[in-house]
Amino acid sequence: MAESKTIFWSPRGGNNAADAWGSCHVFSSETTDEQTGVKHRDTIIVDLGQEERLYNYMGGQYDMMVPVVTDCVAVPGHDRPAEQDKAKAIFLTHGHSDHIFGIYAYTEMGAELPPVYGTPFTMTMLRKGFIERGVPEEKWPEMREIHAGETVRIGDLSVRSMQASHSIPGALSFKISNGTESVFHSGDTKGDETSFLEGGVDFDDYKKIVEEAPIDFMSFDALAVTKAGHATYESEVADAYKTIFEENEGKPVVAVLPAAHLERLASVIAAAQEKGRNVVLNGGSLMDSNLLGLEMAGVNLQEKFPKTTVVGALNEKAAELDPEKTVVITTGIYAEQSSPFVRFLKGDEKAFDLRSDAVIVAPLTDDKNEQLQVLIDGSERARNCKRVTAKDFPKMYGGGHAQKEDFDRINALLQPKMIAPIHLPTPLADKFNAYAAKQGLSVFDRQVRNGDTVTVTPSGCTLFAGEKQEWIGMKHEKGADGKQKLVETAVFQDEHFARSDKIERVRRNKVAYYENKAQSLPLPLRHRAKSAGRS
């Protein structure tokens, strides 16, 4: 039987004009019987996140904003998609809110969600979110755990998982194939081989998947690719902390980290283990919540680092440890109110135990660190403590996204025939495309925006301009029982495209960037797309 096959990719969120949030990608495989013309489609969604900068939308009047996927997910009150257009699975690259919180939004709206696939850690974080929202288990979508190296078949599509490296564990990249064409979707990754939790990216696995079938198209996390050098590797972070521990032997050390940055936390523990320090985890409920997720996903930090003692601050063993041979890991790098360290700096003497000879390691350099430094300066007990920042040790801090060298290395291994950047605003996408074109790589002449569609066929890749992507805004109010209730939803068009030069670094609630267009919901993307030319 003669048939032709096409892979469709449509970003729905994350490829915004002004920010990188709300990642969501729809992939379909369409097989056409060339004799009868009958088409068969299989569709999956990769990530269903929320927009984080809500103040960009309608002046911040909605408390949640998620990309519209009602053309492939049935949602009450919206036009029902045809059976063959319905997504058969949702694959999650990792457990950050801008990649998974749309699952909660659509569940709340009563959507008929297909099974959700992710690593044990990602699935644990997803379950934890449902519990924290008080959603009864019978309303949760079916959750299926997958691991790097595994392949899941969804109709004509096969989805092969690969280990990615990001700031939290359980991150995956996917190779999505239909038997003819293959797409590599990176998810958020920095190409680091040195994670202390999971071992990092396995580049041998990259070689293996290319040997199996070449990569025809790559959608790549290019948020930081225009930065020179490589993203800070976790081994480099650990080396920096080892030096700090050496230089401050005999002194208590306080390491301030982001609550959710579990990879970084593991790097500090690895350094402590090597330098003979014990570890006390005193990051408050937000850090504990992440640590609980890690534990439930089967990663026990004490078992992972058996040569040192790793305990929570509320554990009675913590009081028995020699403070001069201990590092206390806490939160507060962004001056979060829930951090015990921040509460202490603000005058709650019982929240944190800080000795006057302690060394405070606060690994940021720019304005992000300013609030914390101001708080330290304002604290009588903290202001005279020795401080170590990334000015002293630049490799102490780094993001979770690939930089130039990382991209070059991954690109050389995968050798995709065509590349489109994802998870970044338009100005950065333009910079990436210019860089890639200069390297002789095949890219489109503009960002593939939310709502556009790219087709991947044996004869090449084509970009079709879609209508502006739509988002659903959700408003909640506290009910009489004290619980948050959904009181309003509305659909808005993505106006970011035309205004990208104006909406960088706006202040909260100053400007409404989204207008209520009262648009009807999108038809299946293939029916509304118009050709924007072939690459």
């Binding site: 949030w21 379950r127 519990i131 959710a260 937000l286 609980l292 305990v311 962004y334 829930s338 979770g400």
Partner: protein, 78 residues
């Protein structure tokens, strides 16, 4: 409280009774003991033994400790 699946109410009750417990490091057996001793769980029957139940209770307990959802800054996602 509506039985053992009312995790948020159970978490809030645990936090009220034991505000300074190391929740992550708490042994499931000890947690079961605490659950049995809560007056709010009288009449609920035996404490479920599944690991997923204890995880849900611990997650809800930690949720009861969190001041606001908006406390996690976006940069932490990077």
């Amino acid at each position: 409280m509506n039985g053992w699946s009312d995790y948020l109410a159970i978490g809030a009750a645990l936090q009220k009774a034991w505000p300074d417990v190391d929740v992550v490091g708490l042994d499931n057996g000890d947690l079961a003991g605490k659950l049995r001793s809560l007056p709010e769980t009288d009449g609920f029957g035996p404490v479920p033994e599944k690991a997923s139940f204890f995880f849900a209770v611990k997650a809800a307990w930690l949720k009861a400790r969190q001041p606001t959802e908006a406390d996690l800054p976006m940069d932490a996602l990077l």
